[in-house]
Amino acid sequence: MSLKGTAAVVGIGELKPTREAPPEATALGLMSNAAAEAIADAGLETKDIDGFLCGMAFADAGMLYPASVAEVMGINPRMLNQVDIGGASPAGMVWRAAAAIQAGMCQAVLCVVGDLNKFGDQKPPVISVQREFEAPYGNIGANCGYAMIANRHMYEYGTTARQMAKVAVDQRRSAVKNPLATFNDRELTIDDVLNSRMIVDPLHLYEIVSPCSGGSAVVVASPEVARRTKHPPAWLLGAGEYSNHASITYAPSLTDSPVKVAAETAFKMAGVAHKDIDLVCPYDCYTITVIVTLEDAGFCKKGQGGNFVWDHDLSYAGDFPCNTHGGQLSFGQPGLGGGMSHVTEAVRQLMGRGGERQVKGARLAYVNGNGGIMSEQASLILERRS
C-alpha cells in the first residue's frame, strides 16, 4: 500500500494575512473565504466537496468542530475530521485526504485552516502536564523551546548567528515578490536581523514568526476529479509523519528532530532523490527550524545546516529555492493555522503560478509541516506531471 499518485492538490485559496484581526473577522469567516477561493480555484463547487478536514483555531476552540465548520460552509462530507498536529496539520491533512480518497470514502477533500491573531499575552498551556511542569518556570509559548534548540545547535555544531539570520534574509528576498506576504516592503540584511531586538537568546525579533490573522485552504482530489480541474494538478508522490515528544524537554535530542523519519518515509514512498527536488518549503516558525529541518530531511549532513544555508542562495532565483513565498517569517502565521502557506506555495510553484518568483521548470517539491516544538512532523513530496 502506498499513497503515491493516489491524489493531487487541485486548488488553493489563501487570504492575505493581517497583523491585527479585522474587527468584522471571525475564524469561521476566514476559513469560509479561503475555502471558497480554493474550491473556485479548482473549478469545483461546494457540492463537489465530499471530504472535510479542518484545523484548530485559538479564536474558536471547541469540540465537534469539523461538523460546525462544514455546516457554516454548506458542505455535507462523507469523511470529516479535525487535524490537531499544530503546524504539521496542513501537510498532515493532504496525506489523510489522499488516504481517504484511496480508501474510496470520498473524491474531493477540502483542507482548511484559519485563525485570528490571538497571541499577545499567551496563557499557560491547557495540557495538564505542560501546565504543571513547564509553565511555572516560564516555558510558555514556543519561543523558549526553539531558542534552546538554537543554543544547543550552536554548542554542538558551531552554527552561527549570521548563518541563522541568513535564512530570514534570503526568504525575505522572495517575499518582496509576493503580494500576499505580510512583510514585503523591503529586503533585509543580515545586520538588520542581528540588530533587531533580542527576544530569547539567541533568537532576534526578525528570526521569529509574526502572528497574524488569516486563512488558507487546498482541495485534494482523486485522479478522476483531477482530470477536470482548471490547473495542472500537484500530485502526491510521497508522505511521512512522525512524532517523538510534545515538550522539547523530553525529546530524545534537541538537535535531531522527528523530521528524519517523516522525510525518509516520504522520500522512500516517492522513489525520488534529493537532487531531483526543485524547491523546498520547510516550516519556518524560526530561522533555526529551517536549518534543523534541512539537515534531518537529508538535504545536508547533520550539523551542516548552518554552512548549507550560508553556501546556497535560498531565494526564488537561487540555487536552492526555499520557502519562495517568503516563508512564514515574512508571510506571517495565522494563529494556529500555520503550515498551510508552505503547501499552497509548493502547489503554486508546481502549477507554474509563481509569478515574479516562479522557480523555472519546478516539477518536484518537498514540503514539511512542523507542530509544537519540533514535536509533530509531516513531510510531503509533490509532483507536476504535465
Binding site: 501546565r131 510558555i140 523558549c144 534552546m148 539567541p202 524537554t249 534537541l254
Partner: protein, 133 residues
C-alpha cells in the same frame, strides 16, 4: 495571601509525591522497578517499558545544563520580571527537567554543572530550580 502571579503547579494524584518532596526541599523522582529507569515528569506507567511498578526515590540534585535561553521578552505578562534563564537540566540520574537557573544570565553556559535549589514561591508551593554547582 501571596502576591505571586506566575502559574503554579496543581499537583495531581500522580504527581503529588514529587511536589510534597519539593516542599521538604528534596528532589524525588519516580523509578521503574522493572527497567530501573528514572522518570520525570511523574506518570502512571514507565514511558520506557510501560510497567506500572513505579517507586519514588530521592536523587542527587546534581545535573548539567543541556540547553538554556535568556528570556528577554516573555510571551506571558506574568513573567514580566525578565530577563530570566529558562533551561533544560539533565539530571545525573538521566531525566531532563524544564527549570530555571538562578544566576546572572551571562554566566550560564551549555554543559555547566548545576545543583538543585528549592524556591518556596508561596507558603504552599515550592518550585525546583537550579544554581551553578
Amino acid at each position: 495571601m501571596s502576591d505571586y502571579i506566575k502559574p503554579l503547579p496543581k499537583p495531581t494524584p500522580t504527581s503529588r509525591p514529587f511536589w510534597e518532596a519539593a516542599r521538604r526541599h528534596e528532589l524525588s523522582l519516580q523509578r521503574c522497578a522493572a527497567c530501573k529507569a528514572y522518570i520525570y515528569y511523574p506518570r502512571a506507567r514507565c514511558p520506557h517499558c510501560f510497567s506500572d511498578r513505579l517507586t519514588w526515590e530521592r536523587v542527587s540534585g546534581r545535573g548539567k545544563v543541556y540547553s538554556y535561553t535568556v528570556v528577554r521578552r516573555a510571551s506571558s505578562r506574568s513573567f514580566a520580571d525578565q530577563p530570566y534563564v529558562l533551561a533544560i537540566v539533565e539530571l545525573e540520574e538521566g531525566p531532563r527537567m524544564t527549570s530555571n537557573i538562578v544566576a546572572a544570565p551571562e554566566s550560564v553556559k551549555v554543559g555547566m554543572p548545576v545543583m538543585v535549589q528549592f524556591d518556596d514561591v508561596t507558603p504552599e508551593h515550592t518550585l525546583v530550580k537550579f544554581k551553578p554547582a
